[in-house]
């Protein structure tokens, strides 16, 4: 029987996120005579253990990360909803009734936010490039400026704004917010600023 090869995806996860080289090597060496389920279990356990270690050793950074994530969700998710509503209003102004008649109007709003996922990833990368002490300021600055721009656009392009119902559905808000949170998480993760840990 030929030696078992560990899952390339799991190995890639270890290479990308696990700091402890010796543990990585031990897992790869052990995978030869172990099942795929065992290797995944060990991989997930190692990554969780490292995360817990990071939280325990750098509590201030953890709190800051939670605050930043919350600020992202509130500010940029809100912006996405504003953009989606602006787009729907533009459809109405331009009498794009075929979209309405297709019965997928809500779907169009969601699709319209998809390109902003890329923007979220780029924003996350930009934010991740900042020194950790400046990240909160960067997030707030980014959020405030984006909110202002969204509102200005909204008022410029949509007539009788005060009369327009600005109440997007909870499902739409949730999807858009999750989309942006995911994009920002990916963007920030691509620029890790966590100090190498002694072992884990």
């Amino acid at each position: 029987m030929s030696p078992r090869r560990p899952s390339p995806f799991a190995v890639a996860l270890l290479d990308r996120f696990l700091v402890n080289e010796a543990l990585k090597g031990d897992l790869v060496e052990s995978a030869i005579d172990r099942s795929a389920a065992w290797f995944w279990h060990q991989t997930v356990s190692a990554l969780l253990a490292q995360t817990l270690w990071c939280i325990r050793t750098t509590p201030r950074m953890t709190i800051e990360a939670v605050l930043v994530a919350t600020a992202m969700l509130a500010l940029i998710g809100f912006n996405a909803v504003v953009v989606a509503n602006l787009l729907s209003q533009l459809f109405l102004l331009n009498e794009a009734s075929w979209i309405l008649s297709s019965g997928r109007f809500a779907g169009w709003q969601i699709y319209a936010t998809a390109p902003l996922f890329a923007a979220a990833v780029l924003s996350g990368r930009a934010i991740g490039a900042f020194h950790q002490e400046h990240r909160v300021a960067a997030i707030l600055g980014c959020g405030v400026s984006a909110s202002t721009a969204a509102f200005v656009n909204f008022y410029l392009f949509v007539p009788s704004v005060p009369l327009q119902p600005f109440i997007p559905s909870p499902a739409q808000q949730t999807i858009v917010a999750l989309l942006f949170a995911g994009g920002l998480f990916i963007g920030i993760s691509s620029r890790s600023t966590c100090e190498p840990l002694p072992s884990l």
């Binding site: 010796a22 543990l23 090597g25 031990d26 060496e29 030869i32 190692a46 969780l48 253990a49 002694p198």
Partner: protein, 110 residues
């Protein structure tokens, strides 16, 4: 604060290192714990405990050379320090004293 006693997991790790000898790195230590100790082991938990033991001066470690079967990653070898040996002896003494005279544990199969 440094503890002056060992948990059962730490004790098993130290005993496994002593049983494996000079070639004690993550894989044989975990295997010894599984085979001899009869316990399922998560490698990351072993390393977490080993780091703690090293911080407390009970084990020392050194990096080996990278090997191809490990994807070019080096092994980290562990040795029990004299302080670690002393801790193992103290724990054995304490456990033996706790076990002695317990009539409930005599004569049973499990």
């Amino acid at each position: 604060m440094t503890r002056d006693y060992l948990t059962d997991f730490e004790l098993m790790i130290l005993l496994s290192i002593l049983r494996v000898g000079d070639e004690a790195y993550g894989v044989p230590i975990a295997r010894e714990m599984e085979v001899t100790g009869g316990r399922t082991v998560v490698l990351s938990a072993v390393y977490t405990a080993l780091d703690r033991l090293e911080e407390n001066g009970l084990v020392s470690s050194s990096m080996g050379d990278p090997t191809p079967e490990r994807g070019g990653r080096a092994k980290r070898f562990f040795r029990v320090t004299p302080t670690g040996l002393k801790a193992v002896r103290q724990t054995r003494k304490a456990l033996t004293q706790l076990w002695s005279g317990l009539t409930q544990l005599e004569g049973g199969r499990s």
